[in-house]
Amino acid sequence: MRHDRGRIVEENHYYAYGLRIDALSSKAFNGPANNYLYQGDFAELDEDLGWTDYLLRSYDAQIGRWLQNDPYDEFNSGYLSMGGDPSSFIDSDGGCVYCETVDRAMTLKEVVVTLKVVKNSSYFSKAVEFSAGFFEGIAAGASTTYNFIAVDAWKSETWINTGYLVGGLAISSNSVGGPSNGRALMSMIDSRLGTRLGDTYDATAQSFNDFVDNIPNMSARDFGKMAGQGTFAALTTKGLTATTNTIATLSKTARIAKVAKKAGSPIAGEAAKTGTTVLGHYPQYVKVAETIGARTFQIPTKIWNKMTPAQQWGANQKFLDRMILRGDNIRLATPLNQVKPGSFYQKELNYLFDKGYKVSSDGLWLVK
């Protein structure tokens, strides 16, 4: 038998924040395209700008910062990458650092947990609060939960369990209100008791976020707390069936609330808060966004002024694409009869009209 070593077609080395070390990296002439670079997930590197387009955001490895604001609002700065700690955390799509990090840990542990519902949820900011409440709820449900974490889990058989526990605790303590709290805790319980609560977590979060979004009088945190208490009770008494029943009941309530929202009931008055993006001329769009607590496109002046018009529009376009991907409601702060020819706002509107959006009859929204 003979083995010939194949030639290396590409080799990449990176600084911590993803800037390629050219002196150590190489690529064969005419080698195949490779879109799996720093962090390993699909991304497109723009060789001219040196920016990398990940699924949700663009990244500048020169400065180690995202170029758009964090859709998950995880850190004080919306532009911070990998939580400011690239040796510990990954963020391979420009989304959530902590949940992705936990996801990888779960793969190691082969715990079945799906992240996709929460990651794709337009209610994510509520989910963050919900998760924090969930964690509190479990604790409120029984103080022994903490004992479970602090005492029993330390007796876990393998180093993986221990490492996972430490990771979960670290996430919980570093990010009170972080989205991973509930999930990490449930997975810990799963690994300890052989349950699959982690499976139900995303469905629970989704139902509760639906609920919270439609009943603005109750905070996501309070609702998460309720859910946590319910889950703990289910865990200790009737097991998963009870949890499933709790979810079903709350989902039903959420559906009722949605019907009320469609009928124009005041209980759904602030439903547009999450998942709404405001477009318009300055200063109208800022005022409207502040009033309804909605999202806007924001690039700091210093960065904006350094960009060419093409780069500015490229970043603007990506913001619109992400907005479409999230399925946001689109509120027009400036009505059509006040749109200035030649403005970015006109360009944004044309882009969205080309994507099939129309202006609602009251002129305030873009609808499909």
Binding site: T301, W304, N337, Q338, K358, V367
Partner: protein, 133 residues
């Protein structure tokens, strides 16, 4: 206060206007400066590097109108979709301040307002035909 506009601001001040409100955003270099002469207000603003001027009566509940529409009204221009630069706005203000003031005096304001609304709608139709649901 925006430095590029110093010349036009001093022109306005010498014509009885005063700066009554201003704001600068941390994003995109957006800003606005509002001047008034008690009869009407002028707002200089930048939205994502697009600088422009708007006008409204001194009633803070009234709508702002693009100064380009006032120019269209005065000059009876037909092409409403042409972009107007900030320099064109400044030149227009300096040349036509008296005529603009006439349009916004008590006697003419209601007619002016109606015409500006019509022109705004017409411009929207020209820029975005058939986009209403």
């Amino acid at each position: 206060m925006n430095k590029n506009n110093e010349k036009i601001y001093s022109f306005l001040k010498s014509n009885g206007f005063e700066l009554i409100q201003k704001d600068t955003s941390s994003f995109f270099g957006d800003y606005y400066d509002i001047f008034t002469n008690d009869s009407f207000q002028l707002r200089f603003s930048s939205s994502k590097s697009f600088e422009t001027v708007d006008i409204r009566s001194s009633n803070p509940n009234d709508n702002w109108y693009d100064l380009a529409l006032v120019k269209t009204l005065l000059y009876d221009e037909k092409n409403l979709t042409k972009a107007t630069t900030i320099e064109e706005h400044k030149d227009f203000l300096q040349e036509e301040l008296t005529n603009i003031a006439d349009l916004f005096n008590d006697r003419n304001y209601l007619t002016t307002k109606k015409r500006l609304e019509e022109l705004g709608n017409e411009r929207a139709e020209q820029m975005f035909p058939g986009v209403r649901k």
